[in-house]
């Protein structure tokens, strides 16, 4: 086997599997199979598995060892991620989040393909491809809707009256980010401003990169309940089309001993699937947004 043949075969594997992915994702996006604009689980699971199988079909001619097959599958996944950055204009943090899913399913597909093609059974090959394609189409046509709530609470050594003024609006958070996603560039909450202290007033949650969430106060019960709907999200590629923050809420419960329990609730709708993977990230990010804000409120309230 010559070096040129080896390289050409490798390239064919990379090119054809990425072309297939591009076609499938393109077909999905531009035929608007999903009315809601959700990115279904097939995009992140079935497509990488098919990419792995297709690359394996080309690479079986050069009989790759396991280490090489894993390594080249990782390169293949990286190329797919790079193409998503260029063509789909996805954000860097988003791609970082999605990458473990892509890598694992591409590797799974590559080894599945290797074993499939070793058997040299055309019926099996056609069946596997057909089954995966049917799952892709069915999933793409199915309704996807997922709303979740994340709740956090914190005890503050202050009365509800002392805390309330910092809940409705607060000055800039100066504390350094301690959540790793914030540290590597994901915007973190920085400041909140308010038009007025009444129901219906506009509120703005400003993030570290200057992006702003426009909010409207829907429940205003001083020292007890501040609930606001999010009426405008920033056009940030990291969140656009992936997650909608629907509503936020701060509840204050007087513990009767000079302390207050502050509860932070956020409701969001996810547009990326599978839920079992993305909701872990959504919960983690939302929780860290809560904690950053609530710790700031605690610090301001306890200062007096």
């Amino acid at each position: 086997m010559t070096t040129n043949f080896y390289r050409a075969t490798l390239l064919k594997g990379f090119a054809m599997s990425n072309l297939l992915a591009l076609l499938m994702v393109g077909l999905f996006k531009y035929t608007k199979l999903q009315d809601s604009g959700a990115l279904v689980f097939s995009i992140f699971v079935i497509v990488p598995i098919l990419m792995g199988i297709v690359s394996s079909w080309f690479w079986m001619k050069i009989n790759l060892k396991s280490n090489a097959l894993v390594g080249y599958s990782l390169i293949n996944g990286s190329l797919a991620i790079l193409f998503s950055y260029v063509f789909l204009r996805e954000g860097v943090i988003c791609l970082l989040i999605v990458s473990p899913l892509i890598f694992v399913f591409i590797i799974a597909g590559a080894f599945l393909g290797k074993r499939m093609f070793q058997k040299n059974n055309q019926t099996l090959n056609v069946s596997v491809f057909s089954l995966l394609f049917v799952v892709f189409v069915t999933d793409s046509l199915s309704e996807h809707n997922y709303v979740n709530l994340v709740a956090d609470e914190m005890v503050i050594n202050a009365t509800p009256e002392q805390i309330w003024k910092h809940v409705v609006a607060f000055e800039k958070i100066e504390k350094k980010d301690d959540y790793w996603l914030f540290q590597i560039g994901m915007p973190s909450p920085a400041q909140t401003t308010v038009e007025g202290y009444y129901k219906g007033a506009g509120r703005k949650c400003i993030f570290s990169n200057g992006y702003t969430f426009d909010e409207k106060i829907v429940t205003y019960e001083p020292n007890k309940d501040l609930t606001f709907d999010i009426i405008g999200q920033p056009l940030d590629p990291e969140i656009m089309g992936h997650i909608d923050i629907l509503r936020g809420q701060f509840l204050l419960k007087d513990n009767g001993n000079g302390t207050t329990t502050l509860i932070g609730n956020s409701w969001y709708r996810l547009h990326v699937f599978p839920i079992w993977y993305y909701d872990i990230w959504a919960k983690s990010i939302t929780r860290n947004v809560h904690l950053r804000v609530m710790e700031h409120i605690k610090m301001l309230s306890e200062k007096g």
């Binding site: 894993v70 590797i107 080894f111 599945l112 074993r115 058997k119």
Partner: protein, 158 residues
């Protein structure tokens, strides 16, 4: 024998998911990914074991239903190899007891009282021992086929 704690945890607590199509293979790919990052030489050893077993007459390799690769001889399983280097082999009870006395293997990580055994490949010597273990199982299966009475019309007649 040093155990893979992550693997043991998943088998013990998430084992009920093993029948979800493709999931065991995805988990095995996750193990491959981890081995590739932390101990890539293990993947070479697994390839070497596979290549050697395939040289034995009548053996084939396929995907094991719960992840990893499975070695069969004439349709009967000899053993299977998970991508974290865990080898599971099936023996007669007598052979299992004999090998347990050598002290290198352990009863199977799930089915302790069956004829199955488990062995973690951690070193180059372990790799060679894994080949020996598979060869013993292969010889056993081969012997069983050799001693099996041929099927004739006479043998089933009353």
């Amino acid at each position: 024998m040093k155990k893979d704690k992550v693997f043991s945890f998943v088998v013990r607590h998430l084992g009920f998911l093993k029948d979800v199509p493709l999931l065991p293979h995805v988990f095995d790919s996750l193990l491959k990914f981890r081995v590739f990052l932390r101990n890539p030489v293990l993947l070479d050893w697994l390839d070497e074991i596979e290549a050697e077993v395939l040289q034995w007459e009548g053996t084939v390799v396929g995907l094991h239903q719960y992840g990893g690769i499975q070695f069969d001889h004439k349709g009967k399983e000899i053993g299977h190899l998970h991508s974290n280097g865990l080898l599971d082999v099936l023996y007669t009870r007598e052979m299992k007891l004999l090998l347990l006395k050598e002290g290198r293997i352990q009863p199977h990580h799930v089915f302790e009282k069956s004829g199955w055994i488990s062995f973690y490949i951690l070193t180059k010597e372990d790799k060679n021992y894994a080949k020996e273990l598979l060869k013993i199982a292969y010889d056993q299966v081969q012997k069983k086929f050799a001693t099996r009475k041929p099927y004739t019309a006479q043998s089933v007649s009353p």
